[in-house]
Symmetry: C2
Subunit: 443 residues, 2 copies
């Protein structure tokens, strides 16, 4: 790396190119990002648009950073680079620019590349269409293995993967699939329709990318064909894009459970605070509801101050169980597991789980409070309140994501902090409700 | 599917085999798992051990379920099936059995298969070694493309992937790599050492599987070679195994944040309760610490009952911010991002974030309390307490995973419920501490 930097600084083009182009594209991209804008500008002179395209295909940056890099380049250089990137990646870059700018690059590039990219620009984010590429290899069923291999050799450098070859009919409909492995072990004179697999697993162009990821994971494919409702082959999705989808979605669910917009992008403290404050302010006002509730029981509290001692314990425990059952419900819904049993069955199951958890924790706290404070009735009150709140909190944790799912809101939005605050309110109501009802025994 | 079931029930072997073997192995595995034990037993007669091996290579079940299925088969059938599975998958199955049983199957199978599996059985769980397979294709640098293609055609059916070919020297050390794509576009007479890539990205056999996954994701590889410290090629890891690792690890981190042992395996309510109770009982006793703390301030509370009103709000908010900063810290550590800046820088950054968040929420609550209760000093107390607790909670959320990382405990173990309860304690101390100190103003 040091050598490469040195060659760059010394304006030694040949040495720089020789060393730099030997690196894996991902390492080239990493090197590129780490340079100062001045050094990067020199790189644009030392590298061709095609070589920069390879770097951009491997950039691992936040989407809003593309603009910064592009602002350092010539417009015609950008257009040529975009034309030589994999179409799906070029679309990702163009989506970050304003429409006018994107359109100007599209007019500057060759018609063929522009058409490919324009076709992809239509598809909605997070659908199969938005992550597919049109650079696949397609052949016809009535070819021989030999002619298929010739097509493959010719297109090998442009296709995003050559390891699956798709078989289409005269209407461009998908009729079969063949792995390069199967092609290689076959005789040259065999016909494609004799060796191809006609049970093709494909995805619809408007299918959610999470469902595509699940299919790819289950079937261990390296690529999946994307078709429209009439089974026309539109593109393919390769496993490397799916790996990115899986880790993005996982990080997304994780962030939501923690109640942060995005755990992965945090630059300055102010930036971080901005990401976290929206939820916190909402929760602060929900917390005011709790405070308001307790203040209605101020009379009870004035008489029996010891009641306050157990507020955080009961509220906290109900938040904890709620978070647990929430996480289980969110995952089950996300994994599509949930369709296997009815909503009601899931809720009944959670209710039973809540009863077991509530009974266990309630009994433990009853004994502990009795030993600690020597007050049988106080122990009984705290124990029964904990039993009731934990049961309700467990059901609430499962119910809220289910309701969201029904309302077509992403269930993962129901964060841990949110369910915790909701359960705070429920638990205070139960605890002080019971305490007020049975106050005579406590005095 | 119905047809297949019908053919099975009618003992129509030919039709069953014809229909069943046309399915993708994953669908075969799904069909297999859905059958009753009686029907499955019939399948063992209708299918060869090799055909069952393909099903077992694609089973998507919990690891402890293997035993159930194996108990339905003949020992010799099991041994033959294991021998024909991909070695890494066979190891997963054998790891679930007791040592004696596993050894007996190994003696029953051929020497070659047994050796391959035995070699893999040594590696620790969650390392590169434990997920690699030894079924790769290796060639020498001084071969021609033609002879490499011949080796490839011969081994294509046994290798787990044929899309990367690894080049080794006479000591079995890894010296280069070549994709099948590069091989195919090369002339038959070219020498391997002229076209191979000698900058091989590889992983060490004892490297953590999460690091392997990150490498595979960054470089968009379909397979990664695994070497020992002396660069001897030991095996390869394919992308389909990495997809599984990524989604398992993600689900694992998610479970831990929610404080559940495993969100994905939940069969009966009793089972679910068992998974969730261990954490809850620990948290219950930590909650007792909070209760004990408050009870020490009973005197203060008796004089100013209104203090109790804000306990859940302050405790809850500190739990929420703590969970947020915990999640960010855990992810940063997991993504290896954290090495980029020093521990101290990260903590200072979080402290500043906490100050911003605390100042914002503190000011809001101060105004709200003043408007609501018309008590300036109470508003001031709650506001300052919230400011202090949120700052401390944010730092605590980042500090705890960092300490765990230092102590070589998986930082993801620090769950949301845990940090929430710790922050309950801190916030109660700050709130009641301030209230006791400035009691005169409140009375």
């Amino acid at each position: 790396m040091e050598k490469i930097t040195k060659a760059l600084v010394n304006e030694n083009i040949d040495e720089f190119r020789q060393l730099f182009l030997k690196l894996h594209p991902y390492d080239r991209a990493k090197f590129y990002v780490e340079q100062s804008p001045e050094v990067r500008k020199r790189m644009y002179y030392y590298l061709s648009p095609g070589e920069m395209a390879e770097i951009f295909d491997h950039l691992d940056i936040e989407e809003d950073e593309y603009k910064t890099y592009l602002s350092e380049m010539d417009p015609s250089f950008i257009a040529q680079m975009l034309a030589q990137m994999y179409a799906d990646n070029a679309v990702d870059v163009l989506n970050e620019l304003d429409k006018k700018e994107a359109a100007s690059y599209l007019t500057m590039m060759g018609d063929e590349a522009a058409k490919e990219i324009k076709d992809l620009l239509h598809y909605k984010e997070y659908t199969a269409g938005s992550i597919m590429t049109t650079e696949y290899i397609a052949i016809h069923a009535n070819q021989t293995v030999r002619s298929a291999m010739q097509i493959l050799k010719k297109e090998a450098l442009h296709a995003e993967t050559i390891y699956y070859i798709y078989v289409i009919n005269e209407h461009k409909q998908l009729v079969g699939v063949l792995s390069l492995r199967e092609l290689i072990v076959s005789d040259d004179d065999q016909m494609i329709h004799d060796i191809m697999n006609d049970q093709v697993v494909s995805v619809l162009v408007d299918e959610d990318q999470e469902d595509v990821a699940r299919k790819m994971k289950d079937y261990d494919f390296l690529a999946l064909p994307v078709v429209d409702a009439a089974n026309h082959l539109l593109g393919i999705i390769t496993v490397d894009d799916i790996v990115d989808v899986i880790s993005e979605e996982a990080s997304d669910d994780y962030s939501k459970l923690a109640g942060v917009a995005d755990v992965d992008i945090q630059r300055s403290p102010l930036d971080a605070a901005k990401k976290r404050l929206p939820w916190l302010i909402i929760l602060l006002f929900l917390g005011m509801v709790t405070a308001n509730l307790i203040s209605r029981f101020e009379e009870t509290l004035q008489k029996i101050a010891i009641l306050a001692v157990f507020i955080p314990l009961i509220a906290g425990m109900s938040g904890n169980t709620g978070t647990q059952s929430l996480a289980v419900a969110v995952r089950r819904i996300a994994m599509g597991d949930f369709s296997k049993e009815s909503k009601w069955k899931m809720i009944v199951r959670e209710a039973l789980t809540g009863v077991i958890i509530g009974a266990t924790c309630g009994s433990v706290i009853m004994v502990v409070v009795y030993i600690w404070k020597h007050e049988l009735f106080l122990g009984l009150l705290v124990g029964v309140a904990l039993f009731a709140t934990l049961t309700v909190a467990t059901v609430a944790g499962a119910l809220i994501p289910l309701i969201m799912y029904r309302l077509r809101i992403d269930p993962a939005v129901a964060s841990g902090p949110f369910i915790t605050t909701i359960n705070d309110i429920i638990s205070i109501l139960i605890y002080f409700g019971l305490a007020t009802m049975f106050m005579n025994y406590l005095l």
